[in-house]
Symmetry: C2
Subunit: 387 residues, 2 copies
């Protein structure tokens, strides 16, 4: 399972002391034998991108998209740490490269955790050797790697896909600061399928845009988001490779939504009847990022007036008189005004862990779905003091 | 005080039963004698604008910006109520017009409260006659009017300004669904200054854009926002009229922030060193609307990394290496990295009810301030179930 489900990969996770708790905080995913293999990644679009993002981008450019390993640390984001942060990220890659006798630019690095604090660099460096030499392709080590990238996640996240002769596996971490329109959070995906560079790159970009980038928890875009895909290129891919990668990304994205900080519900916001997919996405995101809508969902309250109000201010083509809104398939508004429904029946349906809010704009034929969560006191508890 | 501070105005507030609680829910502000006087208003830009907004816009257009009275109701927004909602708003204006023997289009109407529910129209209509005939220019009736527009507000909001020979007074209501870039919430402002139409209109637009439109509580833009300004035109204005109007609007906007649903702090987000005021505003709003930043403020935690991250994704010109950030005047980050400060001293300063977060982008000379609040469990309690 996890990143070792596909052939040709090793993984490991250890505790190096970045986290004060002593929990696992350093993960490695590498090709068997430590040889550089095809690797593509998407990164945050935040202009305050963290040192590991800046450096990993440079490395992939310099290596012509070949990497032998990704080193991932949790507990400290190494973001807003200036030139010292870049040196620290560089030192982490160099240590892995030394162990594998490869070039530093054939290693990628990701960090997640608090912003604005220097990495206690001696701690990860002291564990690099045992991390590399303890790496294994067995299932337990795949789980260790997934656990070592957790921050406020309550469970380790991984997904696998058994293709026709090839495999794809991945791990991810989520928690807060999750918003669409970029590579959101950290994920490493591995495959043993033979896929040429162009196709691999395109498949990743498309899968990320349709899954991680359609997930928003709080509209906050992290400084560290990275999704990396490595291929050991052992077995021929088939025509379903893109769909397979999409399934793995979708599973990881859903697990992130399900486990978002303080959330009690995963919510699909579906906007139909838009004049374009772009407008459907704008409308769905506006609803998904509305504090008021999210509070209603926490309260199991189908207060569709807030949904209508968000759409009215989203900037998309909109006519209140053509709007209909359903919760859990029960229509609560039609042609812009309230519609009679069985309130107690719907209240029972809103007790569920996964909720669907469907909007039909009545303007065109396009549709899109954004995944989000409710907003409850748990989110505030998690985020009121972490610096 | 309130809307009767300026000469030439009467006000009243009664309970008509829109609110189940029996609280005051119907307010009137009218010119003495019920004669149409100069009146300008700014309205929400939400495309799902409520019936009272649609109708009041039409009335001001038709009357060439003359109005004798504004009727305001609370407890039901008359929004997302279709053609019946428009008829109801029309009936409310017509009833006032009948009492004053003026044209229906010389009356404005505002409603605030729940969206998507029909106005129980017989209740306000039954009270119109006593509302009009009980109206008075005494202080107590000014307060009654301000109280009758409250929803989840915890105190009535009014402001006055004593000019050189003229006066300005106003009332407002706030609570949730407050966001900049439009006439936010409900406010009625009155003055006895003689100001020609063009100047009155420009003064209102400018004052609103610098006060109400620089206030954001939750980024949600109401369907009903209206700010109306009436002038009884009794005494000459001076060159300070614009500044006087600004002061009244500023006081009302601050009261709204101070009393925002579930907030424990009023927060000024100041962005300096931007390349333009527009960019400073974009950056300040992005910070002010960040759930993560607001949770930190609730927790009295100067977690500046979240501020840096929001700026990095705000789309403005940004260079992390030039960024400095202060809380309550204490610098916590300089040139994009953490800066040593007296943590326990700052923690004491963050206990205060009004907080200032200052950001210097180091890119240019422009600056702007947005006013917001923290995000605590009280907001969720207020908003988890209200339909």
């Amino acid at each position: 399972m996890s990143v070792v489900f596909a052939d040709g990969f090793l993984a490991n996770g250890v505790a190096c002391g970045i986290k004060g708790s002593g929990a696992l905080d350093l993960a490695l995913v590498m090709s068997k034998g430590g040889k550089p293999i095809p690797c593509f990644a998407t990164f945050t679009q935040n202009k305050a991108a963290a040192a590991p993002v800046v450096l990993s981008k440079e490395h992939l450019l310099k290596s012509n998209n070949r990497a032998a390993a990704w080193l991932l640390s949790s507990g400290n984001a190494n973001a807003a740490t200036g030139s010292r942060g870049l040196q620290d990220a560089q030192a982490m890659c160099a240590a892995i490269a030394d162990e594998l006798s490869i070039a530093t630019h054939e290693v990628g690095v990701c960090s997640t955790g608090l912003i604005g604090i220097y990495m206690p660099i001696e701690r990860p460096l002291a564990k690099i050797s045992s991390l590399v030499h303890g790496a294994s392709g067995d299932e337990a080590h795949g789980v260790l790697a997934a656990e070592a990238i957790m921050t406020t996640d309550t469970f380790a996240k991984f997904a696998t896909y058994e293709g026709n002769g090839y495999r794809i596996g991945g791990m991810a971490k989520g928690a807060a600061m999750i918003s669409p329109n970029m590579a959101t959070m950290l994920a490493v995906i591995t495959t043993d399928a033979i896929v040429d560079d162009d196709r691999l790159s395109r498949a990743l970009t498309q899968a990320v845009s349709l899954t991680f980038n359609r997930l928003t928890i709080d509209g906050c875009t992290s400084t560290n988001d990275t999704v990396a895909l490595m291929s050991s290129s052992l077995y021929p891919a088939d025509e379903h490779f893109e769909e397979a990668l999409l399934q793995v990304c979708k599973s990881l994205a859903d697990q992130i939504a399900f486990d978002a900080e303080g959330a009690t519900k995963m919510v699909r916001i579906e906007v139909e009847g838009a004049i374009s997919v772009e407008e459907a996405l704008v409308g769905a995101r506006k609803i998904a990022e509305s504090q008021l809508v999210k509070c209603s969902l926490y309260g199991k309250d189908p207060y569709w007036g807030r949904v209508a109000s968000e759409l009215g201010f989203s900037g998309i083509d909109f006519d209140l008189g053509k709007l209909s809104i359903s919760y859990q398939g029960i229509e609560v508004a039609r042609e812009g005004i309230g519609f009679d429904y069985d309130r107690s029946h719907l209240e029972r349906l809103l007790e569920e862990r996964e909720i669907k809010v469907s909007v039909n704009l009545g303007m065109g034929e396009a549709s899109a779905v954004i995944t989000t969560t409710d907003l409850g006191p748990g989110y505030i508890d998690e985020n009121m003091g972490t610096s």
